[in-house]
């Protein structure tokens, strides 16, 4: 009895001690955090700890895509991306200024663009499915600014304000969308002091988009190809008409995947094979990793018009899928590829030339004949 009472007392003591320790730890953290935060609030215009070391005086007011007025350093050399899309856009624009990336780079990305960036610290993504941005890692990297790109989502302004307060460095939003990459790249050029690079990429995006739009204006809806863009390991997920992921497909063809609730996610909507047979598309484009190579030998797929006539393709996916996944500036490649695939007579330039110029302009990569042939192997 005596013994067990003693051991209980000991256990109780341990618990109390642990609790006390936890309290001290939390209090300690708060103490450690408070002064810079308070400092931040008081001396907002004057200086921030990190950028101050690089360029103490030269700051300016930058207006981002949301109309937020943010004070940023004039000379920016260290940039942190907010997530995967921002990493991707910045890799095309100024990889040398990145001090971190959102996730380990895919081998294909390393090959084409990110060679020097492969060893950068991984920050995670501030928004999106995981929201795992490591704020201390961002701070430790010495980044002068955090850049977010992509579509304008509800509440993004407040989220960036909050993030800015936590990180102590300016956070800006550059809106990018299919027919607005020109604006986005020019804004990025202005922000990072690289107006020529911004202009070069902006021109390319605008010309590519404009060319396709001009061609599509000459093709009435009734003459456009009936197409399905399918993915997943059974090919039973479709990118629906009107979805955020399907912009390029919708622009260049009649997307037969019409559903009540188009999903904006990269997995699209799940569709049954009976429904695909009802739609009976003339052309099917599969995402890589789906069943492109298997449909010919499958009796159910073999009865669909696209498979019967051999108009089944696999969209190239290196370094990024040309049509979506993510729906970012890689879509500018898709905007040029898909209409050339469907209406080859309407264009004066070949898909080979266009692919070479895109990879050169955006990734600084000279495609060899073999690489080009491999990219387009199932896409012509």
């Amino acid at each position: 009895m005596e013994r067990s009472f003693k051991s209980r007392l000991l256990a109780l003591f341990c618990i109390v001690a642990l609790c006390a320790l936890a309290c001290f730890a939390v209090a300690g953290c708060e103490n450690g955090q408070q002064p810079p935060a308070a400092d931040q609030n008081q001396s907002q215009p004057a200086e921030r700890p990190e950028p101050a070391a690089v360029d103490p005086n030269a700051t300016r007011i930058f207006t981002d895509s949301l109309g937020r007025q943010v004070e940023v350093p004039v000379n920016i050399t260290k940039v942190a991306p907010s997530g995967h899309m921002a990493t991707q856009v910045l890799l095309t624009f100024a990889p040398e200024k990145l001090v971190g990336i959102s996730a380990e780079l895919d081998p294909a990305v390393v090959k084409y663009i990110g060679g020097d960036c492969a060893n950068l610290p991984v920050f995670g993504a501030a928004f999106g499915a995981k929201g795992d941005l490591n704020k201390e890692a961002v701070a430790a990297s010495g980044a002068q600014i955090l850049i977010d790109t992509g579509e304008r989502k509800e509440g993004i302004g407040e989220d960036l304000d909050a993030l800015q307060e936590q990180l102590g460095i300016p956070c800006v939003f550059i809106e990018t969308y299919l027919d607005g990459y020109g604006t986005g790249y020019r804004l990025l050029g202005d922000l990072l002091g690289m107006p020529e690079r911004g202009e070069e990429l902006a021109r390319y995006c605008e010309n590519a988009y404009q060319e396709t739009q001009t061609v599509m204006a000459t093709i009435p809806e009734s003459e456009r190809a009936n197409i399905a863009f399918l993915l997943g390991d059974s090919g039973l997920n479709g990118i629906a008409k009107g979805s955020y992921q399907g912009q390029v497909v919708d622009m260049c063809a009649n997307n037969v995947v019409v559903v009540d609730n188009p999903s904006g996610k990269g997995t699209g909507n799940e569709i049954s094979l009976e429904q695909i047979s009802v739609w009976n598309p003339e052309v099917i484009v599969f995402q890589s990793g789906s069943i492109y190579g298997k449909v010919g030998g499958d009796p159910v797929w073999a009865n669909i018009d696209a498979v019967k006539s051999g108009r089944v393709y696999e969209v190239p996916s290196e370094p990024y899928c040309w049509l979506n996944n993510p729906p970012s500036v890689n879509q500018i490649m898709g905007v040029q590829w898909l209409p050339r695939l469907l209406y080859p007579d309407k264009f004066s330039t070949s898909i080979e030339d266009v692919t070479r110029s895109y990879y050169k302009t955006f990734y600084g990569y000279d495609l060899s004949d073999a690489e080009l042939a491999e990219l387009l192997a199932h896409a012509k």
Binding site: H84, A103, D106, A125, G128, A129, K130, D132, G232, D233, S234, L236, G238, A240, V258, V259, D260, N261, S263, K265, G266, T267, N269, E270, I271, S272, L273, E274, Q275, S277, V278, G289, P299, V300, N303, N325, P326
Partner: protein, 362 residues
């Protein structure tokens, strides 16, 4: 009941008449239970017939049956080639699979509720589903094909149960309690494992694939999937059906079982393995479909009582019909599919709550 008849001659007439009244009631219950099971069987056949006629691809209802008969007696072909291919490769296997998975999950749930004497037991109480989920998630991370993902899920699911048995055989204390606790702990450990794989997964393709897998779906079921799943499912279900009287004995406790000459530990292991086999197969083929295994046995219990000799076949039939109906909604309601795991709860839970409130006895 056998004991009653043995002790019968001694007592006075009054208790005897009470006894005969008791037997009368038991016989009545027995008859109504048989009728209930027969009704469920007829309902299932009707539902299958209706389901065969429904689909997104227009196939004439008459043609659906003609095509089936045509397999045995050649008929004049009044249907298109694509209709036949779709019917036999997409619609028919999917209906079969819905029946099989529904029956298996309900049977496994009933078996676990009996063996662990726990009304909250469901097919995943020992971690079979979480084990399968972890296996599938790891396979998806490794970039495996669909069949490898299913196989890995199955192997992980079965290994989870072996692990739980190993742990509980080394622990002291109430055998049932220890096994369930070990199951719950291993299950939560594996579920953290799944969360971790989601964390390290590539957010553009692997993460959505894992999330999708976890939701469960019958969309991509083909004939060869049915063929592969049929053997373990038949094996497990047959074992449970043969064991159903012994599960009754298990529900009374180990000591009572021993007095009736039943080795409770052995029976429990066999029943658990059989139930896990069918759960693992179901989860491996279709992903996680919750709710069916927990609630269908209770619905049957409300109707016909706790006798596992009746409860087991009734649960199988009702589970099969229920999942078939839910899958019909999933494939017919909209042009895109609605994940079945979400629907089972949406359709089933309110119905179950209504029954609880109406019928106080559970």
């Amino acid at each position: 009941m056998a004991d009653d008849t043995l002790a019968a001659p001694a007592p006075a007439p009054a208790p005897a008449s009470a006894r005969s009244r008791g037997l009368e009631v038991a016989r009545k219950n027995d008859r109504s239970a048989r009728l209930f099971i027969l009704g469920l069987a007829i309902l299932m056949v009707v539902l299958v017939c209706v389901s065969l006629m429904l689909g997104r691809y227009p196939i004439e209802p008459v043609d659906a049956f003609k095509m089936l008969i045509n397999k045995i007696i050649p008929l004049e072909q009044t249907w298109g080639a694509q209709a036949e291919v779709l019917f036999f490769n997409v619609r028919f296997p999917r209906i079969l699979m819905a029946l099989m998975v529904g029956a298996c999950l309900a049977a496994a749930g009933a078996a676990f509720q009996g063996t662990f004497q726990n009304p909250l037991a469901s097919p995943d109480i020992l971690g079979a589903s979480q084990g399968a989920a972890l296996g599938a998630a790891i396979a998806i991370l490794a970039g495996a094909s669909a069949h490898v993902i299913s196989a890995t899920a199955f192997v992980f699911s079965m290994s989870t149960i072996v692990l739980v048995f190993l742990i509980s055989s080394r622990a002291k204390g109430n055998r049932i309690m220890v096994t369930v606790l070990a199951g719950v702990m291993v299950s939560s450990l594996f579920s953290s494992g799944v969360s971790f794989t989601k964390l390290v997964a590539d957010p553009t393709d692997q993460l959505p694939a894992i999330t999708y897998w976890l939701m469960g779906s019958l969309t991509s079921v083909r004939l060869h999937d049915v063929a592969i799943a049929a053997l373990p499912m038949a094996l497990g279900c047959a074992t449970l059906l043969l064991m159903r009287w012994r599960i009754n004995v298990l529900t009374m406790g180990d000591d009572e079982a021993a007095t009736m000459g039943v080795n409770a530990r052995l029976i429990r292991v066999i029943v658990t393995l059989a139930a896990t086999l069918i759960t693992a197969t179901s989860v491996a083929v279709t992903g996680m479909i919750g709710w069916v295994g927990l609630v269908i046995p209770h619905l049957c219990r409300m109707a016909i009582g706790c006798d596992y000799r009746k409860l087991m076949p009734a649960s199988m039939l009702m589970g099969a019909s229920f999942l078939l109906v839910v899958d019909n909604v999933s494939r017919l309601a909209t042009t895109s599919e609605i994940p079945i795991g979400i629907l089972t709860a949406f359709i089933g839970a309110p119905f179950f709550l209504y029954l609880i409130m109406r019928n106080k006895k559970l």
